[in-house]
Point group: C2
């Protein structure tokens, strides 16, 4: 058995008072590291970390998900296992407590990869994934965020349209990537999208190859940022190609992926990567990026 | 102005009486070739061809879409323009006559890439895309297909589970790829999915990088087959990497993509490609593949 590597993120953008995320990031990466230290799988570690990030109202995923223009949450999540490229994803779900667990259930209990909307919710319910009423997500904070966005007539379009100029808003998607002591890789991503978004809008988070990717042959990747930019560039999959086919080192591949994101579509966002070599890497085209990593007992929290 | 290239497909699988598709494929590729001959754009050509394929009940897209387990159509479509990587996609829509035109409207009239379900339908309606009642898709043929599938207790799972063994069912997704006389590339894909599918199930067709991809720097790609396999391997994007980063020729890249599909996930399906060099290529891991190509006035229909 070799060592383990784990990295989590809590979103990218212009982040006010980033130090307030430190205790939470430290606590959550530690929980995942404990699991990996005891010989747990990368799949279980990313699933656990993203579940904890979803349950923390600091982040825009699960409980903390922002509300769309209709005042409801529409959550997206995906998970991928690098051992066999199995994957599961859900999009546009508003009644599932932990969307990442629904995505995992799609991966493990169906022959499908991607389920959306009411069909995804019905599948999750049948598979005993914990359901909640829509009101679970309609917290005073998120209702106030939405009211502010509507008052300013600010829509998700404003984020996307600001190509090249990093958005002033926090893009608080969450994610985790891991390499376990058996050398297997896994990745998971979850988001509530963007405040006041058009109902039905889906970004990169639930899209295998865009917002999430894992293959033992190369790396595990989770992205955050303006989803449209990551969709158009298949950004998570790009890192895999750069490592497996072009022979780049993990950090160099991560930097090159962001360079291409900016070059090809003036993309705004960030990504975290664990390579097959166990190296944890991150890169960003945003001012801020919240991450925490754990490698063989050493924890490193970064909030810029 | 140089020449043009156009290729369309009408699905892959075990195809009974494939010769019955020949007149339709010839008519539709000719319409697209006429447009390109007159200097029309690749974007317009793939949009036109996929619209015509959607309107033809021979294919599993648009009017001919198969019905899900609830007896309704849930269509998916996507389009991508290789000039600037702009893209649009819709998934899980059942009230839009031509899903590819809704996807195009997402690309052209929103800052988004991917809209799903009722939100996508509302967006299409607001943008004057032609709407139809659900009954438009509930033709006697498709209702009979569904009744047969239910009587045999045959679900979409059966297609996916038959990994490695080509499904006995036709996988009739449609698509088009083109290079116009100005050298710009575009790709489009549209599908009704699989008969008796789980409501909410989405395959690769509406996913940028999985079932559709276009970049002037490399190629335009449209895929057909078991969507789950193409999602897990980002297959359309793979061809672009093989051409742009590894320097493969168009046909060699197309063959290599299918080789990887089979190697990585025992994948079942096919793809069509137009390279930046104007070469039309196809490859498949299925017994049958319906295609037609047109290059500078020469039309070539293949139904195996």
């Amino acid at each position: 058995m070799s060592g383990y590597s784990l990295m989590i993120h809590g979103g990218a953008g212009v982040i006010r008072n980033p130090e307030r995320f430190e205790p939470s990031l430290h606590r959550i990466v530690s929980a995942g590291a404990d699991l990996l230290e005891r010989g747990g799988t990368a799949r279980d570690a990313v699933s656990l970390c993203v579940t904890l990030l979803e349950d923390d109202p600091l982040y825009n995923a699960g409980f903390g998900s922002v509300l769309n223009a209709d005042g409801v949450a529409e959550c997206d999540a995906a998970i991928m296992d690098g051992r066999d490229l199995s994957a599961g994803a859900v999009a546009g779900v508003g009644r599932i407590k932990n969307p990442i667990l629904a995505a995992r259930t799609v991966m493990e209990n169906s022959a499908h990869v991607f389920l959306i909307g009411a069909g995804a919710e019905a599948f999750a319910r049948r598979n005993n994934v914990e359901m909640v009423p829509e009101s679970y997500f309609q917290t005073p904070e998120r209702l106030a965020d939405l009211a502010r966005a509507k008052a300013r007539n600010e829509t998700a379009l404003d984020h996307v349209a600001s190509q090249g100029a990093p958005s002033a808003k926090k893009l608080g998607t969450v994610g985790a990537v891991a390499r376990d002591r058996a050398g297997n890789l896994a990745a998971a991503t979850s988001t509530g999208g963007m405040t006041n978004k058009l109902p039905g809008r889906v970004g990169d988070s639930p899209v295998i190859g865009a917002g999430v990717f894992a293959d033992n042959a190369s790396c595990a990747v989770s992205c955050t940022g303006v989803g449209e930019h990551f969709l158009r560039t298949s950004l998570a999959r790009t890192v895999g190609f750069l490592i497996e086919d072009l022979g780049l080192e993990t950090q160099a591949a991560t930097d090159e992926a962001i360079r291409r994101l900016v070059e090809k579509v003036s993309g705004v966002g960030a990504l975290i990567v664990v390579g097959r070599d166990g190296v944890c890497a991150r890169a960003q085209s945003t001012p801020g990026l919240l991450t925490a990593s754990a490698r063989d007992g050493v924890i490193n929290v970064k909030t810029a």
